[in-house]
């Protein structure tokens, strides 16, 4: 009992600043100093959020957003991870692919939004391809840096003990690439949210970003704030969940 109380008290102490900010928001919005449209009180926003959940709009749009982000990111993880490991594995692949990665890595990924819309229209496919292209290189680079750092002596001893090339790849190179690969995926996860929301804001007929843009131009600001805060929370929650997963996967390292 005491320990639960302690946890609650510590959590409260730790997150008190956020509570203070929320209270300041509520007080400022209700004080009449600012336009209530520009800064709706948090309680009103919660009401609008419940409304959006109730009529199912937030859920259907959210599902289509999460489908796009998940599909694009998933393909990027599989292909990017494989590409990065093969770049570290074979010099010809590195010499051929490396310069292309170097060339495209600094490209501000948001510039791909109109190109994907041009090729694939306004639907799901253009967002999935956009997120795939945007997330590919951070994953590739993470896998490459990790696999390149694989301990040479481990590789030699695995070979010496008669492991085939494929076994070495699977049992030695992949595990030693894991930490950096997982960091690359974390960067990609954050990027996928950015690309998703911004592409939906600019060209879409469904999704969180579309809702934000639509509610904003209709002037329903409390609902717009509700969707914005939902997206922000989901991005935060995804990162926290991923970090917990990352720690679990890397338990063997400690």
């Amino acid at each position: 009992m005491v320990s639960i109380l302690n946890v609650v008290r510590n959590g409260l102490y730790r997150y008190l600043p956020l509570l203070l900010i929320a209270l300041a928001w509520e007080a400022l919005a209700r004080s009449g100093w600012v336009n209530e449209l520009a800064l709706p009180p948090l309680t009103t926003i919660v009401g609008a959020w419940l409304g959006l959940i109730g009529d199912g709009e937030l859920i259907t749009n959210g599902a289509s957003s999460l489908y796009r982000a998940g599909a694009g990111l998933g393909i990027a993880i599989v292909l990017g991870g494989a590409l990065g490991i093969f770049m570290a594995w074979s010099k010809p692949v590195l010499v051929f692919i490396g310069p292309l990665v170097e060339l495209f890595y600094p490209l501000p990924k948001s510039a791909l939004i109109p190109v994907c819309a041009l090729w694939l229209g306004f639907g799901d496919m253009s967002k999935i391809v956009l997120i795939f292209l945007g997330c590919l290189l951070p994953v590739t680079l993470g896998a490459f840096n990790g696999a390149r750092g694989a301990d040479q002596e481990l590789l030699w001893s695995a070979r010496g003990m008669g492991a085939t090339k494929l076994e070495v790849l699977w049992d030695v190179v992949l595990p030693s690439a894991m930490p950096e690969l997982l960091n690359g995926i974390r960067t990609a996860l954050a990027l996928s949210f950015v690309l998703l929301v911004s592409s939906e804001l600019i060209v879409a007929r469904a999704g969180f970003g579309y809702m934000i843009g639509n509610l904003g131009s209709a002037g329903v600001y409390d609902a717009m704030f509700a969707v914005v805060l939902t997206v922000a929370f989901l991005g935060f929650a995804a990162d926290r969940t991923y970090q917990a997963f990352q720690r679990r996967v890397l338990l063997w390292r400690e």
């Binding site: 730790r14 997150y15 600043p17 956020l18 900010i21 520009a38 010099k91 010499v95 051929f96 692919i97 490396g98 310069p99 292309l100 990665v101 170097e102 060339l103 495209f104 600094p106 490209l107 501000p108 990924k109 948001s110 510039a111 791909l112 939004i113 109109p114 190109v115 819309a117 041009l118 090729w119 680079l141 490459f144 840096n145 954050a190 949210f193 950015v194 998703l196 929301v197 911004s198 804001l201 600019i202 969180f208 970003g209 934000i212 843009g213 904003g216 600001y221 717009m224 704030f225 914005v228 997206v231 922000a232 929370f233 991005g235 935060f236 995804a238 990162d239 926290r240």
Partner: protein, 276 residues
């Protein structure tokens, strides 16, 4: 050391390895050249319409036209100005706040949860709110850039200043350094590599966000130009803007890496081999 290096270079130049190295280096260009050739030939082959993929030569012609008419320079200036202004406005308070978080417990208490919640949020979703508050012009774009770029700078500064070797701090104190001297002579130089890493993360973010902000508000700048082109189904304009934005991104990152090498020429990392 220098003499050993020189001898090694001479030996390398004389050995047959040199020619192999040279061949690998030449091979590094093969994929880029292949990409250019395939783009041009595929676009002209008739397999795709020039609307879907205009040939690179025509895209270059379009960039040249934009450059001659002055549009390119105007848009380039708008985008780079917004990105760098936001980056600079994020950098100074970001570093200051990072130092304060390390040094002062109350500041740490207040900002620690704010940053750990704010950093992983997709702050780009706040664009419509920022536009609602600050209008459609530069102020709102620069604000969202600052909002997005400041988090990596703060966290890198906190990590850097927190990791400063205690013994250095103690000996400087013992030799009579004041707090200000301590900061300038010990803490900042020791934390500089990580602070620069934070800035190197923040700069591409600033550019990405600037371009998104220009697209969502359909304003001037390279991002706005690109959106206009796609609204008017002018695919040549879209690809021209894509190439222009890619070049700006590449140049900004290279310049930042040069600044880092320059500022850290005293640091041991300057002696390590360069990687990707």
């Amino acid at each position: 050391m220098a003499r050993v290096e020189a001898a090694r270079t001479r030996a390398a130049a004389a050995s047959p390895l040199f020619t192999a190295e040279f061949a690998w280096r030449a091979a590094r260009w093969s994929s880029i050249i292949l990409l250019i050739v395939v783009w041009e030939l595929y676009a002209r082959s008739g397999e795709v319409t020039t609307f879907m993929l205009p040939p690179l030569s025509m895209v270059c012609e379009r960039i040249w036209e934009d450059a001659m008419s002055g549009d390119l320079l105007a848009n380039l200036w708008d985008t780079v100005y917004r990105a760098l202004a936001g980056f600079a406005i994020a950098a100074v308070p970001g570093v200051l706040l990072g130092i304060l978080i390390t040094r002062l417990a109350p500041v740490r208490w207040f900002f620690d949860p704010v940053i750990s919640v704010g950093f992983p949020m997709p702050k780009i979703a706040f664009i419509p709110i920022i536009v609602l508050w600050f209008g459609f012009y530069d102020v709102s774009k620069i604000t969202i850039v600052v909002f997005d770029a400041i988090f990596p700078i703060i966290t890198a500064t906190v990590a850097g200043t927190r990791g400063v070797d205690r013994h250095l701090v103690w000996s400087a104190r013992n030799l009579g350094a004041s707090e200000r001297e301590l900061l300038r002579e010990i803490v900042l130089p020791a934390a500089l590599p990580q602070i620069l890493t934070g800035l190197q993360v923040a700069l591409p973010i600033a550019l990405i966000v600037t371009i998104i902000a220009e697209m969502t508000t359909a304003s001037s700048g390279l991002g706005g130009e690109m959106l206009h082109a796609s609204r008017f189904v002018d695919s040549m304009g879209v690809f021209a803007a894509l190439v222009e934005i890619a070049i700006v991104g590449l140049l900004l990152i290279k310049v930042m890496a040069m600044i880092r090498a320059r500022l850290l020429h005293w640091h041991q990392e300057a002696r390590q081999a360069k990687t990707v």
